[in-house]
Amino acid sequence: MAFKLPGVIKGLTVPFRTMTQPTVTVQYPHEKEELAPRTRGVIALKEENCTACMLCSRSCPDWCIYIEGHKEKAPPRREGGKERLVNILDRFDIDYGLCMYCGICVEVCPFDALFWSPEFEYSEFKIAKLLHDKDVLGEWMETVPEVEPLEAGAVAPKGAK
């Protein structure tokens, strides 16, 4: 097998050049990489918008959203108007042990109550703790980035979330 030298020696230059260039490692616990605003890290719940219409829990492929609510009488919008019946949310849990981050619930919600946030550091020792309830989801709300501008030439569909 003729030893064509150039091929083998030429190959050696690539690792040597990489050795001289800066490395790409991000030392995670000390430095943190900054994620894209659209990253699907965790789902945040804006409780005021939610009317417990159960659409998200019905369309979730993994069956991991559990909702309980009850009806209440609420003061009429305009005084003298009729008494209104309002859905009050008692329980809104998302089980992140089952969730596959597909985002169908965020899209299907007609009242814009669910948002994506790029937060990802919520790992637990016990899997049961991955069941985030209403107020934990509420806390994620501040980490939701505001909607970023679209690329040139894009026509934003009406009422884009």
Binding site: V8, M19, T23
Partner: protein, 349 residues
């Protein structure tokens, strides 16, 4: 070696103590050499070549404690033996491999009088002893009663034996040119030698024996089963060849054996081809050489080891039939031609 050191200031310590001190020093250099080579090349250089940082946290500055920590981890690991393994042979195998590494250090000169024993057959003794590891590898492969280990051991045996020949023939040129086989003699020959009358930098044999140097490096790479010759421990097929059943401190022996032999071979290569522990301008027998000598040899070892590990991280591995063909059809004829050319030079010029 020590009484020469102390004799100069009048204390005469007996032969027994000097041998004890020499053995202690050699016992110390094997793990130290393995750790240094392992850390500098396997951890830091390999990672920077792959554009990553390598260990940073252990031991604070650049993770120097990583390999020491690994060593301790291996020590406290449970020593498992496969249930139908041949117990005694299984236990003896790593020790045989390690013994062959120790014996090589006997002849490596580090300073004017700093060597354990200056045998006049130095070079051939070193290379002969280093082939003892073949027995250890076979013992490990057969004893651990696992298919992968068996395959690995058979491949290792075939490869190590095939590359003994080019390893030795590559060195014959150097011995002829230095007219002595003793390593100390070779170092002196390179110090006084001259290239066609111009002797300001002495004659490191790499200039005249560059074919020999190339052959020696390739054969050494094969002896250490490092890529491109790491068929016996091909991790993508045999996981880790003959070492697959070993855990705990026995695996540590193998690891130390591997890197210790790498350190030893780099030392031999440095001594034979790069002028050993001397630098051109320095006077060989001066007092200070006892300190400067080891440092010079260490830097040369690092240089040679850099070449070895650079090839180790870049090249894919040969299939064993190509490996054998390379040895028998290309390396051995080339080394014989090299010997003839050297002989011609010596006789006519």
């Amino acid at each position: 070696m020590m009484n020469l050191l102390f004799a100069s200031n009048g204390i005469d310590i007996g032969w027994g103590t000097t041998t004890a001190i020499k053995t202690a020093v050699v016992l110390g250099t094997i793990p130290a050499g393995a750790l240094i080579l392992g850390y500098v090349f396997l951890l830091k250089m390999m990672s920077h070549m792959q554009s990553r940082l390598g260990p940073m946290d252990p031991g604070g500055f650049h993770g120097w404690f990583q390999l020491v920590g690994d060593g301790m981890k291996f020590l406290q690991k449970e020593d498992i033996m496969p249930e139908d393994a041949d117990k005694r042979v299984f236990a003896m195998a790593p020790i045989v491999v390690l013994i062959s590494t120790f014996l090589v250090y006997v002849v490596i000169p580090v300073g004017p009088s700093l060597y354990v024993r200056d045998l006049n057959v130095g070079v051939f003794y070193a290379l002969a002893v280093s082939s003892l590891s073949v027995i250890g590898v076979l013992m490990a492969g057969w004893a651990s009663s696992s298919k992968f280990a068996l395959l690995g051991a058979l491949r290792a045996a075939a490869q190590l034996i095939a590359y003994e020949l080019p390893l030795l023939l590559a060195v014959v040129g150097v011995v002829m040119q230095a007219r002595t086989a003793s390593l100390q003699g070779i170092v002196e020959a390179q110090h006084e030698g001259a290239i066609f009358g111009w002797d300001s930098i002495g004659l490191p044999f790499i200039f005249t024996q560059f074919i020999g140097f190339g052959l020696f490096m390739i054969a050494a790479q094969a002896e250490l089963t490092q890529p491109p010759f790491d068929m016996p421990v091909a991790e993508s097929e045999l996981v880790s060849g003959y070492m697959v059943e070993y855990t705990g401190f026995r695996f540590l022996f193998f690891f130390m054996g591997e890197f210790g032999t790498a350190f030893a071979f780099s030392a031999i290569a440095a001594t034979l081809f790069l002028g050993g522990w001397t630098l051109p301008g320095l006077d060989m027998d001066a007092e200070y050489m006892k300190i400067v000598g080891p440092i010079v040899l260490f830097t040369k070892i690092m240089l040679i080891a850099f070449l070895m590990f650079w090839a180790r991280f870049t090249y894919p591995r040969f299939r064993e039939d190509q490996l054998q063909k390379l040895a028998w059809k290309y390396l051995i004829p080339l080394s014989v031609i090299n010997i003839l050319v050297t002989a011609a030079f010596i006789v006519w010029i």
